[in-house]
């Protein structure tokens, strides 16, 4: 049975539809990432589920019951705010106990549960501290403990890690994932950070302009994006625009890009007015020395010759920018394997990528 069921939710602010006909259902115990750029309607969706915003049309069901008429405090929804919204005039323990106190939990039970929650988020011993005495990461965990303490049917996390610095964010992301898994909380994570969405979510919903662009597992989202928006938003990508298709042989289709390059693809789309957009992920591109005799590993491979423009070693990866004959640029990401295989700017190279790695989108 689904824990959450949104049907055809629309919310307009003036002329602008913040949420435009969203339907979504969620199973118990799953973690769903709601990913999209700012202003795509993800936070509005969250506030509708929590009951702070009422939708213009559509229904919200929690555990099979329509909760449209219920106030936030009548729903059993835990909410972690972007800025945590910890009560500054209460101690950590009082913050965590707040929800239970207002739900009539007996005092003795509150005390034990507060301790259990704090040990869950590894803040044992911090009961008497005040929020301003804690680090950003600790504050975030107090907020999580506070939201979990009421044993919510759904836990909503609004950009849970965005207030932290990059290094801490990475650390806490894994910790958060572990806590969510151990509690088994049905969770929606709203984020604009694709890495966060892909690591935390069992499933990812990508939103764009108030609509759901795609729903799928992290792998599906990355490897088979439903449209150009998803492909562009999730991961890095190289784009070619092609207006004409030359031929199809061996189940392969040949497109001629606007700058004259010929690119073969496994996937195919029917012809359209605006042509097609072709997408290649930088990590699918293999680079070989341009001076070596040309040899494609298989007939399926595309081979593009070019000159290295820039090399940026970024830790485990090296980002290489190649200029192709048509002045268009190609980004390739290769593993940083160390000395001997270095590529230098000005070097001529050939970029190899398989036709099945090329994504084709209709304009």
């Amino acid at each position: 049975m689904s824990v959450l069921n949104l049907k055809d939710i629309t919310k307009k602010y003036g002329e602008l539809a913040a949420v435009d006909g969203i339907s979504l259902d969620m199973e118990r115990g799953k973690v769903l990432s709601l990913l999209g750029p700012s202003g795509c309607g993800k936070t509005t969706t969250l506030r509708i589920i929590a009951g702070f915003t009422s939708p213009d049309t559509g229904t919200v069901e929690i555990a099979g019951k329509d909760v449209g008429h219920l106030r936030p405090y009548e729903r059993n929804v835990g909410l972690l705010f972007q800025d945590y919204a910890l009560f500054p005039h209460m101690t950590v323990a009082e913050n965590v106990a707040y929800g239970m106190r207002h739900r009539g939990t007996p005092t003795s039970e509150i005390t034990t549960r507060v301790l259990r929650m704090l040990s869950l988020v590894q803040l044992t011993g911090m009961e008497a501290r005040r929020p301003h005495q804690l680090s950003g990461g600790q504050q975030q965990r107090v907020a999580l403990a506070r939201a979990l303490a009421i044993d919510p049917q759904i836990l909503l996390l609004d950009e849970p890690l965005s207030a932290l610095d990059a290094k801490l964010r990475l650390e806490l992301r894994l910790e958060l994932k572990e806590i969510l898994r151990s509690v088994g909380a049905t969770t929606i994570v709203v984020t604009h950070d694709q890495e966060e969405a892909l690591t935390l979510g069992d499933e990812v919903v990508v939103m764009n302009a108030g609509k759901i662009a795609q729903r799928g597992t992290p792998t599906q989202i990355y490897e088979a994006p439903a449209d150009k928006f998803v492909a562009e938003f999730v991961g890095r990508s190289n784009w070619f625009h092609a207006s004409k298709r030359s031929q199809s042989t061996d189940g392969l289709t040949s497109y001629v890009a606007d700058d004259g390059l010929e690119i073969r693809t496994r996937a195919s789309r029917p012809d359209s007015e605006g042509g097609v957009d072709l997408c290649v992920r930088p990590e699918d591109i293999e680079l070989v020395d341009g001076t070596a005799p040309e040899s494609a590993p298989s007939p399926e491979h595309n081979v593009l010759a070019g000159v290295v423009l820039d090399v940026a070693p970024l830790g485990a990866d090296v980002h290489v920018v190649i200029e192709l004959p048509g002045k268009s640029r190609l980004l390739a990401i290769r593993k940083n394997v160390g000395r001997g295989s270095e590529i230098l700017p000005g070097q001529s190279v050939r970029a190899l990528f398989s036709a099945s790695d090329v994504l084709v989108f209709q304009r």
Partner: protein, 315 residues
């Protein structure tokens, strides 16, 4: 005191301070700083002179006068009149104590009511009003605080006074408009007419500094709107509430025109007592003593409130 331009000076490395070039530069900067301080003093001088001459010295005159013996029939004390504490001692007579208790009690009532009424309104304006409505409300509120005290008093007199337009309704309801209870109520109403808009303006600022997510967090955790305000909003706005109360109280205890006109001579505030000392019996020493006591009480109030502030900050 330091001028903006000279902040680079302390960062000069000490080892280099002996170098002649740096030294001359330092001299120049120090010179600039002295000039800056000089120009600051010059800029402050006129205002300081006015304050010392027309506030400081007059206050000392009051203090001096308050210890002089009053001779009935004279205006003010005679030069070199004997010193006495008589003027202070007589303030402890019940008849004088009544003026003080009346003033403080009515000002307290008005301030409390003002803050209680102002808070929900300020919260509404700060949180829910659209920007045009906010602007309209602000304009109205500032306009009301700007309104001449006389216009206010006259308008209230016209509405609630003994010959006012409500008089027929009041007498039909059996309200004794000459009773001291009614007069006290009208004075509180008069004080409220000023302290409510003032308190709303102060509290709008306080509410705006409060993170709206906090109240939402409380409600998502299961607190009703009412209890979320009682447990989160109000405790976090306490500074603003105390401020609004303090301002209302200060204005209330020093009120002059409102009790003078609306009190119809039957209810007098301390200010009115001082004025009558001056205008009716020209007993300046007594008026001076009352002024000193009133100032001491005002300072005490401010002191208590600021202690309350630091206490609130600590918790």
């Amino acid at each position: 005191m330091k001028s903006g331009g000279s902040q680079v000076l302390p960062h000069l490395p000490e080892a280099a301070a002996n170098a002649p070039i740096v030294k001359s530069a330092q001299k120049r900067i120090v010179g600039a700083r002295v000039r800056a301080v000089k120009s600051q003093v010059l800029l402050l001088l006129p205002a300081v002179a006015v304050f010392v001459l027309f506030l400081g010295l007059p206050m000392l005159t009051v203090l001096n006068e308050s210890f002089r013996t009053f001779e009935p029939g004279r205006i003010g004390s005679v030069e070199g009149a004997p010193l006495t504490i008589e003027n202070y001692a007589e303030l402890f007579l019940p008849v004088y104590m009544r003026y003080f208790s009346q003033t403080y009690f009515l000002a307290f009532c008005a301030s409390l009511i003002a803050v209680l009424i102002a808070f929900p309104i300020a919260y509404f304006i700060a949180r829910y009003a659209s920007s045009t409505m906010r602007k309209a409300a602000m304009t109205l509120l500032i306009g009301l605080t700007f309104l001449s005290a006389l216009v206010r008093v006259y308008a209230l007199q016209l509405a609630f006074g003994s010959v006012g337009i409500f008089a027929p309704i009041m007498s039909a309801l059996g309200v004794n408009m000459n009773g001291s209870l009614y007069i006290n109520c009208v004075i509180v109403v008069g004080l409220l007419h000023y302290s409510i808009p003032m308190s709303i303006l102060i509290l709008i600022g306080a509410v705006q500094q409060l993170n709206p997510r906090l109240t939402e967090a409380a409600q998502s955790l299961g607190a009703s709107a009412l209890s979320s305000h009682l447990t989160v909003t109000i405790p976090l706005c306490i500074r603003g509430l105390v401020s609004a109360f303090l301002v209302s109280m200060t204005l209330g205890i020093s009120a002059f025109i409102i009790p003078w006109i609306l009190g119809r001579g039957r209810v007098m505030f301390i200010s009115n007592l001082i004025y009558s000392r001056f205008s009716e019996i020209t007993n300046y020493p007594s008026g001076a003593a009352i002024s000193i006591v009133m100032m001491a009480l005002s300072l005490l109030l401010i002191f208590i409130m600021s202690r309350l502030f630091t206490l609130l900050d600590r918790t």
